[in-house]
Symmetry: C2
Subunit: 231 residues, 2 copies
Amino acid sequence: AIVAAIAAKLSDGPLKGRRIVLTSGPTHEPIDPVRYIANRSSGAQGTALARALRDLGAEVVFITGPASVAPPEGVEVVAIETAQEMADAVSAALPADAGVFAAAVADWRVTSASDRKLKKSKDGLPVMEFVENPDILKTVSHLKEGRPGLVVGFAAETNDVVDNATAKRLRKGCDWIVANDVSPATGIMGGSENAVILISDAGAENWPRMDKGAVARRLADRIAEALTDRG
Amino acid sequence: AIVAAIAAKLSDGPLKGRRIVLTSGPTHEPIDPVRYIANRSSGAQGTALARALRDLGAEVVFITGPASVAPPEGVEVVAIETAQEMADAVSAALPADAGVFAAAVADWRVTSASDRKLKKSKDGLPVMEFVENPDILKTVSHLKEGRPGLVVGFAAETNDVVDNATAKRLRKGCDWIVANDVSPATGIMGGSENAVILISDAGAENWPRMDKGAVARRLADRIAEALTDRG
């Protein structure tokens, strides 16, 4: 559902006149009316990026799962819960100059989601069947018509970050992958800082660990440069 | 972990000198470092009850999962994440005059919880094996030594509320069940109001729908009466 649609007071920055679709936050996949599968994304990095893109003058469509931080003002907020709802919202928001997919989308959902609260079964254990969710990043990257000029994915890895993220970039067909290490020891998932590796066709570029707001501003600057270069 | 241990300024009410162990909120059961199974409990009813019991003078040990409302002041807060951690915290907090188990505890956890982020397997679907979590209410109700004089469970039902809750009271061996209908249409799970049925050996007592604070105060009064009657 569209919670707010505000696109006032756009600033006069390098992204003026550019429409950017940005996903953020976790998705929740229902198991039954009371239980769901979630992930530890706070939405902090995506929200900071929305703010940074807005500050450069972009028209931002901010498609967000149930995040623990409030969305910024001056962007069009589309609040969703599940991966399927996020995919539908992205489709509806295109075309755009750039698509930036920072959300931690559930890869799977429970096919057997019940409209009644699951009771313990005879052997005491639930039966859960899964089906793959739509792959938003891959779908948008491979659009024949209306593919955004720049498609950016995120990769939250816990090991072999550069290798996994480089493989992900090729597999998905996106232009950039913003990769980070979300091992619990790093404190990044749900924390205030981020240490990012930007993967592009030029290779892997290590950014120093910094505040998520600083990561967002640097990434927004790079997006502005790329869109300017491409016209 | 114990986040705060504050038991100052206990009031002079009918629960003065009584120690009450109270669980509240959801539990989160990890699937891997970034994913977990959760439930829609906000912790609002349990938090309101902690406040009401404190206001009647009780020493409250408030064992809470990751709730979306802040714990009250003047209670001993023990913050946990999983059902197993909650069970351990309850054990450590006993003996007590009453045990009130308002948390929405996950019935199961994922045995195969991974310390690395799960990747899509060859067929694209995860393999999740479950094991039953400890049954805190049943365990405490059946304690041979140190059973609290009053054991209260909660039952969140989506259908056949009285039948399910009455059966739950007998199955668990507790004294009371505070039952409610959490069907999405009621707006109770995560909302500000509650409509409760109190199940005891005297039968089922329907309370009118009211603010969760009012439910908490009425239940705290009943707990105070019961503890006074039993000496």
